[in-house]
């Protein structure tokens, strides 16, 4: 499978994008609507004109038509051919190559089994559920043995449960086949769950490319930080294990208890919405409870962000508007903070850096584009 390089890519909102996607990697392009994610996917597929250069395995493919780039593309709307049954949909690309019928049948059968839809082979798309359509679309995209798989928010129309299940399956297929994959989504949790690395795109600019943990704990710009929910990120100086699975981390003078194995915590992070704010001292044990003074209040579209000075550390809590009115919060007021234990995320340098190192550029990145084994139409 080739690695993909985008060099100085410009098109519509996208300006001067440079991105390297490693061989066999699952790269998620993450960003809000209209940020240019799908445009980037279409550029890699060759479905739109663009400025700059796209390289597969070190060789430019700019002059190669989409039909010959050996890509599998899963569209957001799936676009299964309504006039063909499941089997025909999957066989479409193979029939275009004029392969012998028994070979086509064998390959279709293999994909039906891989995607667990053998029982649906004679059905038409209108008789399939959302999840089943998804599997058919995936099988159809994989049928011509593509070298690059492109997925454009493929699970956005499914219920959460099915989407989560299919996400894991897609990841599993991707690893089994070792296919270089680009997955577009606007959903951070989806990206974190599936990605080897995440490329955060905003207004057509590439803001950061890193492993999911790095993006969350080391956002390189305010745009990235805002997109992931502007978490409170604290550096931890030392930590000690209290008991199995419970660690106390000392972060800038604040003792914070977290659920974690091991004692090499480097950073912790929690979202503003994961802090409770109270005017009176909360009852119960004093674990992950702090008192401080409001230093600043900032209003966003959905909630107020209240900055609280706790022993010199600035913690930001998200407070709904109606609570703001009830509590009459104002700068200088003394408040109590409670951190939700289960929502505190931990960056453990000993394992997170290892993940990051997996996708350093391999030595053979400029290896020649693989010889095509099957004739292309």
């Amino acid at each position: 499978m080739p690695d993909i390089q985008l060099k100085n890519i410009s098109k519509h909102v996208c300006s001067n994008i440079n991105l390297d996607i490693c061989n066999g990697e699952l790269m998620v392009i993450l960003g809000p609507s209209g940020s240019g994610k799908t445009t980037l996917l279409n550029i890699i597929a060759g479905l739109t004109e663009y400025q700059g250069s796209v390289l597969f395995g070190g060789k430019p493919v700019d002059d190669i038509d989409a039909s010959r780039r050996r890509i599998g593309y899963l569209f957001q709307q799936l676009v299964l051919f309504p006039h063909m049954n499941v089997k025909k949909n999957i066989a479409y690309s193979l029939e275009l190559k004029n392969l012998p019928p028994d070979q086509i049948e064998g390959r279709v059968d293999e994909l039906l089994r891989l995607t667990k839809i053998k029982h649906l082979s004679d059905r038409y798309p209108k008789h399939l559920s959302g999840g089943e359509k998804q599997r058919v679309a995936l099988a159809r995209a994989l049928a011509p043995s593509p070298e690059v798989l492109l997925l454009d928010e493929p699970l956005s129309s499914l219920d959460l449960q099915t989407a989560k299940y299919l996400r894991m399956e897609i990841k599993q297929f991707q690893k089994t086949l070792g296919i270089t994959t680009v997955y577009v989504t606007h959903d951070l949790s989806e990206a974190e769950e599936i990605a080897d690395r995440i490329a955060v795109v905003h207004n057509g600019n590439l803001e950061q490319v890193a492993t999911p943990d790095r993006v969350f704990f080391f956002p390189e710009s305010e745009v990235v930080s805002d997109f992931i929910g502007a978490p409170n990120i604290l550096d931890c100086q030392h930590c000690r294990e209290l008991e199995q699975g419970v660690v106390e981390a000392n972060c800038g003078g604040l003792p914070i208890i977290v659920a974690h194995e091991g004692n090499s915590i480097n950073r912790i992070a929690f979202l503003p919405s994961d802090i409770f704010l109270s005017e009176s001292r909360p009852p119960g044990p004093g674990v992950n409870r702090f008192e401080g003074y409001i230093s600043h209040i900032h209003y966003t579209d959905d909630a107020a962000r209240v900055s609280v000075d706790v022993n010199g550390q600035q913690l930001v809590a998200g407070v709904p508007f109606h609570l703001m009115e009830e509590m009459a919060l104002s700068p200088g007021k003394k408040v109590y903070l409670i951190l939700k234990l289960r929502r505190i995320r931990v960056y453990d340098c000993s394992c997170s850096d290892r993940t990051h190192a997996r996708y350093r550029r391999p030595a053979g990145i400029n290896a020649p584009f693989p010889v095509q084994k099957e004739p292309v139409n």
């Binding site: 597929a45 039909s67 569209f75 709307q77 051919f81 006039h83 275009l96 038409y124 139409n377």
Partner: protein, 257 residues
């Protein structure tokens, strides 16, 4: 709460014939009792049936019907094929649409029968005249529906076909055309009705054979019964053609729409 079906919606489709029978009975009674005003004799339905058998057994109806049917069939098929061909080119290639649409738009508003005087001079008063008129009347609806059908196909189907390795021609023939069929069929069904209307007019004006000509001769002989027989034949044929195209459309698209 369960939805209760009304008594009318429970009726079997066969009951659709009931209003027709009621109409025919009223017709028969009013004609026999001479309740229909006017200076000419208004024939009862039974007389019409009798005349239908007379005309059929003498071969007059069959001969004229065959002449009209032949003209409709040839004109309709030729006009539809030509309309579809040009429609495919104009719907698929934007450059062709841009170049030809202004011209086509100029010709479209002309009623098909408006061409009659011109065609009488160019084509002459012969068998080709009604065929040419039907060709023109079939051509435009199919042309426009083919363009609309092809343009209505979601561009993502084209994109996904390309990523699956399809050439432009393959995309057109295996994906775009099949998906455009329902709209193209709408044009074909419209045509079937138009063709019968147009052939009658052309035969009345210029051609001595066909159902239209037979009606005109019946008018000069004040044979209202023959005129009504011809009208019934026309109604049945238009209905039949519409159902035929509807059936063909259903056969093609029912499984997937």
């Amino acid at each position: 709460m369960t939805h209760k079906k009304s008594a009318i919606s429970k009726l079997k489709p066969g009951w659709g014939i009931a209003p027709v029978i009621a109409f025919l009975v009223i017709w028969e009674v009013t004609a026999r009792l001479n309740w229909v005003p006017g200076q000419f004799h208004f024939p009862a339905f039974s007389e019409i049936v009798k005349e239908f058998f007379n005309l059929t057994s003498s071969g007059v109806l069959g001969e004229n019907f065959a002449a009209s049917l032949w003209r409709v069939t040839v004109g309709l098929i030729a006009g539809s094929i030509a309309g579809m061909m040009l429609g495919i080119v104009m719907g698929w290639k934007e450059i062709a649409h841009k170049a030809l649409n202004p011209i086509v738009s100029l010709f479209l508003p002309i009623p098909p029968l408006g061409w009659l005087p011109l065609l009488m001079l160019w084509v002459g008063i012969n068998e080709w005249l009604p065929i040419t008129i039907i060709f023109i009347s079939s051509f435009f609806p199919v042309l426009y529906n083919t363009i609309a059908g092809i343009k209505s196909v979601d561009k993502d189907y084209v994109k996904v076909s390309r990523t699956l390795g399809a050439s432009d021609l393959k995309i057109l023939t295996t994906v775009v055309m099949p998906l455009a069929l329902p709209i193209i069929f709408t044009g074909l069904r419209l045509n079937a009705g138009h063709a019968w209307r147009v052939v009658i007019a052309a035969e009345m004006v210029a051609i001595p054979t066909g159902i239209g000509a037979l009606m005109l001769r019946a008018e000069s002989l004040i044979r209202i019964d023959i005129i009504i027989v011809c009208l019934i034949v026309l109604a049945v044929m238009t209905y039949f053609f519409d159902k035929l195209f509807g059936y063909m459309e259903n056969r093609v698209t029912a499984r997937w729409y």
